[in-house]
Amino acid sequence: MNVKVEEKLFQNRYRVDTDHPHVNIRNPDVCEYECKTQQCTVCCPAGCYTREGSGKVVLIADGCLECGTCRIICTDYRNVDWEYPRGGYGILFKFG
């Protein structure tokens, strides 16, 4: 089944903090060359992590639901810097 997470995220409300991404990949090389599973590209419920053809993992956290999954599952490398967004920014649940 072809599920488009974009369609789902489209329904959500966000206030993106353009200059202050709250999630960052610490060392992109670790994702590209060392991590075999790149499980963040599967597990992130907002599809924030994508695997490029080259094997590079690209993170765009604009659609982040602030669950924390990516940080916790990165058990082997602890390669995700994860903070809460600045006050008032990020996902704003309408219903929760």
């Binding site: 789902k8 959500n12 602030e66 058990t75 008032g88 996902i91 929760g96």
Partner: protein
């Protein structure tokens, strides 16, 4: 210049709100900090409210709280790919006020709760993320640092109600990063339908609601459950599985939910609905053994941040409220006796918790998480077998019932040895005991 309070509560979810409310009601000078635009905008829950915990602090909450439907019926469905075997329990007993369980929509409910906290006298400030705890030279927590200029704020005690990720306690070194075997990831969608449609589809009257718990193939072999709750004019549908299972699977959480929504038994319930929000949230399901240190010099942990969730009974918000209340009552008692908020004095919080249903229940099921982790047949083999049995039994095809029973028995023992079956039964009995 810096502000100083008796207590700072970080977070405005059920635990934080209960704590702040209880503290403020007792006349303490309380500051509550919430990172969302308004209370509720960062919070996600199924969501079911159990009256008891709330009733204890706001007995007349039913007068104005935004409640969706009170629950009169509980369904449990065990699904395979195309069918389900289910049990329904419905009782007029649940239909007599005061009602015991309600569906709620957290954004609205938390906002209401926060208004009560304000009215009780707490200063509630939103859109402010606490980034760190402030310590004195003896390493005692003396306040918080927020992400704003001039953001050092002091207090005698800081109550951490900052949710499952519990970043502050981790940063402070109070506990380690969460283990994927201790957290579930749930994704949920809100589907809006006219009230009448919901009432017809679920066979309920006005303000009456239904809960459907979904087990089996919907989690595709992972340890977890799905759910479908009826709200006033919407349905909450979601599925959650252990992160440790997600970690080894190649299915995305949203695809899992999409598959579940398309199950032939579920799809008609959602038909023509308008999806208005998609959320994801972690649930701390480590149980009793995973509960971290919950108090120290000048700090306490309540709610999800302290792993206070009963995964077996899917209770969380009531534990959160109870821990929030007990933490606050501990502080109030110490303040009244003019005792400092030291680790030794705050240990009374743990004692109060041990005496409450919170720890008693969590203790009772302390083996449960591990049993399920080591035995995924509960989520794969059994649902399929149960559904096949039902199919065999109900299909009228000229085969006598005795033969059918034999077939069913052999299909069970074929898939799982007799020893295995007995072992599973024993494990479950032990865990539930």
């Amino acid at each position: 210049m810096s502000e100083k309070f008796d207590a700072i509560v970080v977070g405005a979810g059920p635990s934080g709100n209960t704590a702040a409310y209880t503290l403020a009601k007792s006349g303490l000078n309380v500051l509550q900090l919430e990172r969302g635009e308004t209370p509720g905008t960062k919070n996600v829950q199924g969501a079911i409210l159990y009256s008891d915990a709330l009733e204890r602090i706001i007995p007349d909450f039913r007068d104005d709280a935004p409640l969706e439907r009170h629950l009169i019926e509980q369904r449990m469905w065990v699904l395979d790919d195309e069918s389900f075997v289910g049990s329904h329990y419905r009782s007029e007993g649940f239909n007599q006020p005061p009602y015991n369980r309600y569906t709620i929509i957290r954004a609205a409910f938390d906002k209401w709760f926060s208004e009560k906290v304000r009215q009780a006298g707490a200063l509630v400030i939103c859109e402010t993320t606490v980034t760190d705890l402030l310590r004195d030279d003896k390493n005692r927590v003396v306040g918080v640092q927020v992400d704003r200029e001039g953001g050092s704020i002091y207090a005698d005690v800081v109550i951490l109600a900052d949710g499952v990720n519990s970043l502050l306690a981790k940063k402070a070194g109070f506990h380690a990063e969460l283990d994927p075997t201790h957290v579930g990831l749930a994704v949920k969608e809100m589907h809006f339908l006219p009230e009448e449609t919901i009432e017809q589809r679920f066979n309920v009257g006005e303000d009456e609601g239904v809960v459907i718990e979904l087990f089996g193939k919907v989690t595709q072999g992972m340890m977890g459950t799905g759910f479908l709750y009826t709200n006033k004019e919407s349905l909450s549908i979601g599925v959650g599985c252990m992160l440790s299972d997600f970690k080894t699977q190649k299915i995305s959480p949203y695809a899992l939910l999409e598959n579940m929504k398309n199950h032939p038994s579920i799809k008609p319930l959602l038909a023509d609905g308008e999806m208005k929000e998609y959320t994801a949230h972690l649930i701390p399901e480590g149980g009793y053994k995973a509960i971290p240190r919950i108090a120290g010099d000048g700090w306490m942990i309540v709610g999800d941040a302290g792993m206070f969730v009963n995964a077996v009974h899917r209770e969380g918000s009531n534990l959160a409220m109870t821990t929030g209340r007990l933490a606050a009552e501990t502080v109030v008692a110490l303040m009244q006796e003019s005792k400092p908020m030291t680790e030794a004095n705050l240990a009374a919080y743990r004692n109060r918790l041990d005496d409450s249903f919170v720890m008693k229940d969590l203790k009772k099921y302390k083996e449960m998480p591990e049993i399920f982790h080591r035995n995924n047949q509960f989520f794969t083999t059994y649902p399929e077998l149960i559904n096949r049995s039902a199919h065999t039994m109900l299909k009228v095809d000229g085969v006598d019932k005795k033969t059918k029973e034999r077939e069913i028995f052999s299909s069970f023992t074929h898939k799982r040895s007799l020893f295995g079956l007995m072992g599973d039964a024993y494990k479950l009995w032990r865990a539930f005991r």
